[in-house]
Amino acid sequence: MILLHLPALQVVVPLMAAPACVLLRHGRIAWALALVVTWTAFAVALALLLQVIDSGPISYAMGGWAPPWGIEYRVDTLAAFILVIVTSIGALVVPFARASVEREVASDRIYLFYTMYLLCLSGLLGITITGDAFNLFVFLEISSLSSYVLISLGRDRRALTAAFRYLILGTIGATFYIIGVGMIYMVTGTLNIADLASKLPAMADSRTVHMALAFLTVGISLKLALFPLHLWLPNAYAFAPTAVTVFLAATATKVAVYVMIRIVYTVFGGPAIFEQMPIDEMLMGLGMLSMIGASLVAIFQDNVKRLLAYSSLSQIGYMVLGLSLANVSGLAGGIVHIFNHAMMKAALFMAVGCIFYRVGSVHIDALAGLGRRMPLTMAGFVIGGLSLIGAPLTVGFVSKWYLIQGALERGLWPVALVILASGLLALIYVWRIVEVAYFRPSPDGATEIREAPLSMLIPLGVLCVACIYFGIDATATMDLATAAAVELIGSHP
């Protein structure tokens, strides 16, 4: 019986745990609750994925109102895959967060941290699972508002301005999204995504629909920080508490990429719309600009968190590029990169969190000699960095392989070259850190620095193992991504 209600429970359990944390008012107890809830959510997501693989898409009618009139929760392969990504990161961040948050957040606000964390998680899960374009907006606001608060919890005063800037730009993005949804509602009279998908292609040749797609693309691009709408991201990631950075970098922008795929492929009917609106060419150009531009900026950053934030921007470029290639290999490469990048970037930011926990700084000079003093943390960083470059036997290689294949299938060999060039740029900025950590001696009179606590190292280790395991045996992730891509493109040949 409970299996029937898993789609509702996926969102409701974290949503109810968030106010419960406010009632508890105790950091450690709130942490324990968050731990139980996030792992439950992970189990629910896995169960949903198995159900979808077994018997196809699941539809759940909220409140018993049948779709398309009521709000529908709809889990297809892509949604189930994203749910697993978000909940797995959500579940791994909580054990990591206990020590990290106690170090970086004022002690009387820790319970608020977990409240906002769970709210943000339920918002992201809601965006992924809902089959209703307006409901998606509501969850977008839940996740955004809570992430503004999470960022502002950073001890650095600049976290406040970073959060405020994100608030302004994020609100503009959400507004653009809702204007776009309003326009397609005006034309079709429905908000259900599946219903929109069946009605919209027949009406696609109108000014209103074109404007709607333009508004939606710009709004979601702001949320996923696509160049040149990325200005909020570097500072937000750099000054937020590290646990927040890990979580947001690995999930929030990924979910925005998911929304983009959903809107462009499911709602507007996949590659067919590109003949009327050259969205794919625009996204391809901007994606490649992100890949190269952000990597170039990353090379010159001295704050390691900021450096990784810029690297995130360039990796988002890969996902958008995959989306814009509009063939199964490219789209599958983009989708699998959502998973792969979540794993590697979470590992990298966790390593930075461990460094901050012991050293108290994330400036590149503070890393001198850490290769000997914190060998496990730095080993995790190197594995994450190798994935970022796309070295063989790591997850980064798999996604790049499929993206290049997708580009070559379209005959776009310059795109393939850009992908390779961006990987080389990643090599430069990862090497800068590795060089400082392993080949520069630690400064004289440095206080004794030990390895980070086990509660932080274990989640980091799990992610590193995932980075390598899914790099060597990518069958599971690639099969899912390919199935999702075929579902998205195949329905509109």
Binding site: V12, L15, M16, P19, V22, L23
Partner: protein, 145 residues
């Protein structure tokens, strides 16, 4: 504020009226215009009027931060809890029809409880926001503690 007798007397007359009107908007919401959000804001406005005239310290005594925070989460939990109750009674999440023997009564009961949850949370949120800004504590959120 001791000398502004007119304001004090008028406010004392108005505050119960405003609260009563809030309750009317709350519980008559399914027959006329209104609902939880509007009722919550109206209810909080009565409270804010009191705080404006009699001072933030007095207002804090009427609504201790701990109580406001508890009702803030209680509203959300009530809303979500009604949905879960629907699950246990054999319907989908937020299916009100199964809440009572008769689906129509069930729908009434469900929307009533949910709107009460919305009203509670909105009123507490408004009061919290006002007290934090009015408290002028050096730290943001300091008024909450």
């Amino acid at each position: 504020m001791k000398r502004k007798a007119v304001l004090r007397v008028t406010a004392k007359m108005l505050i119960p009226m405003i609260m009563l009107f809030a309750l009317y908007v709350q519980f008559h919401g399914d027959f006329g215009p209104g609902g939880g959000f509007q009722a919550g804001v109206i209810f909080a406005s009565a409270f804010i009027l009191y705080a404006l005239l009699f001072g933030v310290a007095n207002a804090r005594r009427v609504a201790p931060p701990g109580f406001v925070r508890a009702s803030l989460s209680f509203g959300v939990l009530l809303y979500a809890g009604v949905g879960v109750a629907g699950l246990f009674l054999g319907g989908n999440y937020l299916d009100y029809s199964v809440l009572a023997d008769d689906p129509v009564h069930g729908q009434h009961l469900g929307i009533m409880l949910i709107e009460f949850g919305v009203g509670t949370t909105v009123a507490s949120a408004m009061i919290t926001i006002f007290l934090i800004f009015a408290g002028q504590d050096p730290e943001i959120g300091g008024g909450e503690r």
